[in-house]
């Protein structure tokens, strides 16, 4: 009888696949603080009139929050770069498709 057959009733240990160093808990709190401050600044733009700079500033803060969550909380900064490529690929495709779609609806000129 063969003895090298893999057992089928053993729980799969998935802790060593793609193992990478994660930031400490205190680092996560610092990241959350930065996100909280950015959100507060976003909300502040609702109450403070900053004129035509409003939308560019909101977009910059939105993108900054997006990248901070993706890089630190979703660990893209530390993980295999293929994960980033798949996600960013989908994101770029979505942005391209819908910018074209919005252009077809004359969104940029008519709003």
């Amino acid at each position: 009888m063969s003895t090298d057959t893999a057992p089928t009733d053993v729980a799969v240990d998935d802790s060593n696949v793609d193992d990478h160093d994660h930031p400490s808990d205190s680092k996560y709190f610092q990241i959350a603080l930065i996100l909280g401050v950015l959100t507060a600044l976003e909300v502040a733009t609702y109450y403070v009139d900053i004129g035509p700079a409003l939308i560019p500033i909101l977009m910059v803060m939105m993108v900054a929050k997006f990248f901070i969550v993706a890089a630190w909380f979703m660990h893209l900064r530390f993980d295999n770069s293929l994960f980033t490529k798949f996600f960013v690929g989908g994101l770029i495709l979505a942005v391209a498709v819908y910018v074209i779609a919005l252009s077809a609806f004359e969104f940029w000129s008519k709003g």
Partner: protein
């Protein structure tokens, strides 16, 4: 084959295929939410005789909801950090906290929808209302599914079937949760904070 060698080559690519599948799924979700956000942007000025977006949005209330969801991303990542250390007690605490914060967000959304309905904004009132409820409703469904997954992990942990060696399961569900948070970051800025038409 030794046990160490078996672990080193756990997958044919050397990376977790489950995690890769989740990232591919999240990439495809960008297209779904992109479609819903674009549709809203096209129709936000078409409110006919119904309430206009600028008239009914409650920015202070939505700001608090957004902050709650943002902080749930912190508690989610703390749950992952705890299980990676083998700290099952703190893992359960943070999983439950994340689910509670998610529930608080959903409660806020139900309150917002109810208020809008009382102010005359139904699903079919105008193209704006249909696009708004579809977008935010889809996001709410995603959050609700996330809460169910979190509670499922919490119950598994209580039963003793979620241990340190299953940390990748927590990480994958965490990815989904953070994505839901990222989508709200977009929705909050583009739909609520960018000045909306008024009647």
């Amino acid at each position: 084959m030794s046990e160490a060698a078996a672990t080193d080559h756990a997958t044919t690519t050397g990376m977790s295929h489950n995690k890769l599948a989740m990232w591919v799924f999240l990439g495809s979700e960008c297209l779904l939410f992109g479609a819903l956000i674009s549709t809203y942007l096209v129709y936000r000025g078409r409110f006919a005789t119904g309430p206009a977006p600028g008239d009914i949005f409650d920015i202070p209330f939505t700001s608090v909801s957004s902050f709650v969801l943002l902080m749930s991303s912190l508690t989610m990542v703390l749950a992952l950090s705890a299980i990676k250390r083998g700290d099952l007690r703190n893992n359960r605490i943070w999983l439950l906290t994340t689910a509670l914060l998610g529930s608080l967000f959903i409660g806020g959304q139900v309150y917002e929808f109810t208020t809008f309905f009382r102010e005359g904004l139904g699903y079919t009132t105008s193209p704006f209302s249909s696009a708004f409820f579809t977008l935010t409703g889809f996001h709410g469904v995603h959050v609700s599914i996330g809460i169910l997954m979190l509670m499922s992990m919490f119950i598994s942990s209580l039963r003793g079937s979620l241990r340190k060696e299953h940390s990748e399961t927590v990480e994958i569900i965490g990815l989904y949760w953070h994505f839901v948070d990222i989508v709200w970051i977009f929705i909050f800025s583009v739909i609520y904070l960018v000045p909306s038409p008024t009647s």
